[in-house]
């Protein structure tokens, strides 16, 4: 049971007050000079040896992007990134494939062990196949053979472009079109690498597929691209975890994730996001502008679970397009903001098919001087008969100078739909704290207990090992937020 964590390990973790993954490793990176123009896109595409249709896709995206302006409807304020000051590609110099674990650059191994994700251990202990994305190029892919037996493809995006171009070409941009939004267009033009996953018809993926992303080289924006396709009657649980090294200047992260669940397929996508949030005074930190969306065909199900503790600015709405009849979309979210963090996050549930169903459980926690917004759209289209939505958006405030905001949008064009929305805002109870402390529990630990309890519905959705990590992150990110 994950409940055991707080007693045993929290104290140790709490002693470690600074951002625990804040380090920079010194792997030589092959970095494209800063700036964005057609030439740079040609260069990225050439370096990756891409087919011409993909180059064209990128160029078209760039054209579209140039006509767009950065959105400012979100409840966040930040200095706009200078897109010409960013380098759009960095690959570790040593890009040769590793035949065995022994061949892997020792420094890279050290980086991984600092992250606490030694591949061997992951493999042995957890049965998780890890596709480790470091500075945009996958350096270690494991369990491939076992997955291959089942016909499952799990590889870096670049590899998929080389080896399964027909799948990539068929699905890329079908859920998040180039023109969807400013950051999606940018990503489509310059995406560096990411993950690709295909589960064939009728296959239940026997293990959690996991990718650890991290930003490494100084000043490199990161533009991940993820594409997950679950063919008919298949199932996959996909984990995405992020840690980023500490640094002073703001870093831009604009990922695009597309999920495709064909008839009767199910995709469970879980994220623990822990990018560097900036220091106590609001300096530095990652800008996280992500577009995540999935499409469900008949009887398909997509479930997004996220625990967002990091980043200086977060702008993220994992969404479901419930195209097929009887399809199901779920969104479970915990978003924590502390100090000067700003988060504007939520989901969109677009009901197109009949008898479609969506559930939204959002738990926002704001501390310090942070701003935490839930923004959600539930849209029932005309033909979506007998559709249902249940939304519950809770906000927990710690202290009196932070902000919690809820922006629910409901558009209903079919009168047979049932929509329920519940929202609560509470302060962490003085009475609850006193009760815990009266039993001998320190204030910090009491807060951690209460907050974890508050988020339980969401944490319970996470696979075990992720749930433990998420609990730790919650405690760490709320440290010093009371008193």
């Amino acid at each position: 049971m994950m409940a055991g964590y707080t007693e045993n390990e929290l104290a140790k973790d709490l002693a470690d007050r600074e951002y625990q993954y804040g380090f920079v490793s010194n792997i030589d990176a092959d970095v494209v000079p800063a700036g964005l123009n057609e030439q740079v896109i040609h260069l990225i595409s050439a370096k990756k040896n891409e087919p011409s249709w993909l180059l064209e896709y990128r160029l078209k995206a760039f054209e579209v992007w140039k006509t767009m302006i950065e959105p400012n409807w979100a409840h966040v304020a930040y200095p706009k990134p200078d897109f010409q000051a960013i380098s759009y590609y960095a690959a570790p110099k040593q890009v040769k494939k590793y035949e065995s674990w022994d061949d892997v650059d020792p420094e890279m191994k050290e980086t991984m062990s600092k992250l606490g994700i030694s591949l061997e251990e992951q493999q042995r202990l957890t049965g998780v196949a890890v596709d480790f994305v470091m500075d945009s190029v996958s350096v270690g892919t494991s369990f491939k053979a076992k997955l291959a037996e089942l016909g499952i493809i799990f590889c870096s995006f670049s590899e998929a472009v080389q080896e399964h171009p027909e799948l990539v070409k068929k699905y890329l941009g079908t859920v998040v079109p180039i023109s969807d939004n400013f950051y999606a267009a940018l990503n489509s033009a310059v995406f560096s690498d990411g993950s690709f996953c295909y589960i064939p018809k009728g296959v239940r993926c026997p293990m959690e597929l996991s990718t650890y992303f991290r930003i490494n080289a100084g000043g490199t924006g990161q533009f991940e691209r993820t594409l997950v396709i679950a063919d008919e009657l298949s199932y996959v649980s996909y984990l995405e975890g992020c840690t980023a090294p500490q640094r002073d200047e703001n870093q831009l992260h604009a990922a695009v994730v597309e999920l495709i669940a064909l008839n009767n397929a199910e995709i469970k996508y879980s994220t623990v996001q822990n990018w560097y949030p900036g220091d106590k005074n609001g300096n530095g930190g990652v800008f996280n502008f992500v577009t995540k969306r999935g499409i469900c065909e008949d009887h398909a199900k997509i479930s997004w679970t996220q625990v967002e503790t990091g980043s200086a600015v977060t702008w993220k709405y994992p969404s479901c397009i419930l195209k097929g009849d009887y399809s199901v979309g779920e969104f479970f979210s915990v978003a924590v903001t502390n100090n000067f963090q700003q988060a504007d996050t939520g989901t969109k549930m677009v009901h197109l098919g009949r008898h479609t169903k969506s559930t939204i459980i959002s738990k926002g926690i704001s501390a310090g001087q942070s701003q935490n917004s839930y923004r959600g759209l539930v849209q029932i289209q005309k033909q979506a008969e007998h559709s249902r939505n249940f939304s519950q958006c809770d906000s927990l405030l710690m202290g009196s100078v932070c902000g919690a905001h809820t922006f629910p949008y409901i558009e209903c064009k079919n009168s047979t739909a049932q929509i329920e929305h519940e929202a609560t805002t509470s302060k962490i109870g003085e009475d609850q704290l006193f009760y815990c402390q009266q039993r001998g529990i320190s204030e910090e630990k009491a807060i951690s207990l209460i907050v974890n309890g508050y988020c339980k519905e969401v944490l319970n959705q996470l696979p075990m090992e992720f749930a433990v990590e998420a609990q730790k992150l919650l405690s760490i990110s709320l440290e010093g937020s009371v008193g």
Binding site: Y435, C436, I441, G453
Partner: protein, 248 residues
């Protein structure tokens, strides 16, 4: 064990305790009775260290240490337990997780090793049957959705788990049916030893049929105005508080 001397305490600038003096020795059971609003819960909160209350003068020592200098959790770890008049709900936190955290914090404070999962579970089993708490309640969220009586029983369960030196029971009997009352009282009596003490706040003489007090005090308008033996409770039951008020 507990010495309260001329204690004055206020909340939001209003003085509630107005020179309260009380001594509780190890092995004793004291009952505190008094009309609504007299300051009984206030006294319990001040002993536990609730920060809303300002102690304007007077002292409290606990085992010769200055209790007022200690934080809430230090007092608890030193052995002060308060069974709340209104137990608090903590959604999503299981009773067992809550108690395990508490036990380990107390153990850590005393430099003792943390409790093993096995020992903890057998302790839960033993103590929950002891106070007649349905075991399904031990894994539910702390007090969430508990009936009034279950909440009170849960307080006694926690007391049994934490084995405090000084237990302050604030109207633990209210809301209990007669069987529960017997069980709770039985729990308190069984935990009684020459090394610990109990302070029972109650409105009803009935409880004192089960928990036999060594002393009964009447708290009125922020002070102890009368002290006697068990028979004082009977007298109060019969005559109410007016005779004490007018005697003032």
């Amino acid at each position: 064990m507990l010495k309260i001397d001329n204690l004055h305490a206020a909340i939001n600038g209003t003085e509630i305790l107005k020179g309260l003096t009380l001594e509780v020795k190890a092995g004793e059971v004291h009952a505190i009775m008094g009309p609504n609003g007299a300051g009984k819960s206030t006294l319990a909160s001040v002993i536990a260290g609730k920060e809303d209350y300002e102690v304007t003068s007077g002292t409290i020592t606990f085992e010769d240490k200055d209790l007022l200098e200690m934080s809430i959790e230090e007092r608890a770890r030193e052995g002060v337990f308060l069974a709340f008049q209104y137990p608090v709900e903590i959604p999503g936190v299981s009773n067992v997780n809550f108690l395990k955290t508490a036990i380990n914090e107390i153990r850590e404070h005393k430099g003792r090793p943390l409790i093993s999962a096995k020992d903890f579970l057998s302790l839960v089993k033993q103590k929950s049957s002891f106070v007649g708490l349905d075991t399904s309640l031990t894994s539910r969220s702390v007090n969430e959705g508990f009936s009034g009586g279950e909440k009170k029983r849960n307080e006694i369960f926690q007391m049994a788990m934490l084995e405090p030196k000084l237990a302050v029971l604030d109207e633990t009997d209210s809301g209990l049916d007669i069987d529960a009352l017997r069980i709770v009282a039985g729990g308190v009596n069984a935990l009684k030893s020459k090394d610990n003490a109990t302070l029972v706040i109650t409105h009803y003489q009935r409880l004192l049929d089960y928990i036999i007090p060594d002393f009964v005090h009447v708290l009125y308008d922020g002070k102890i105005v009368k002290t006697g033996g068990k028979e004082l409770a009977l007298e109060l039951e019969e005559k109410g508080y007016d005779w004490i008020k007018s005697a003032e």
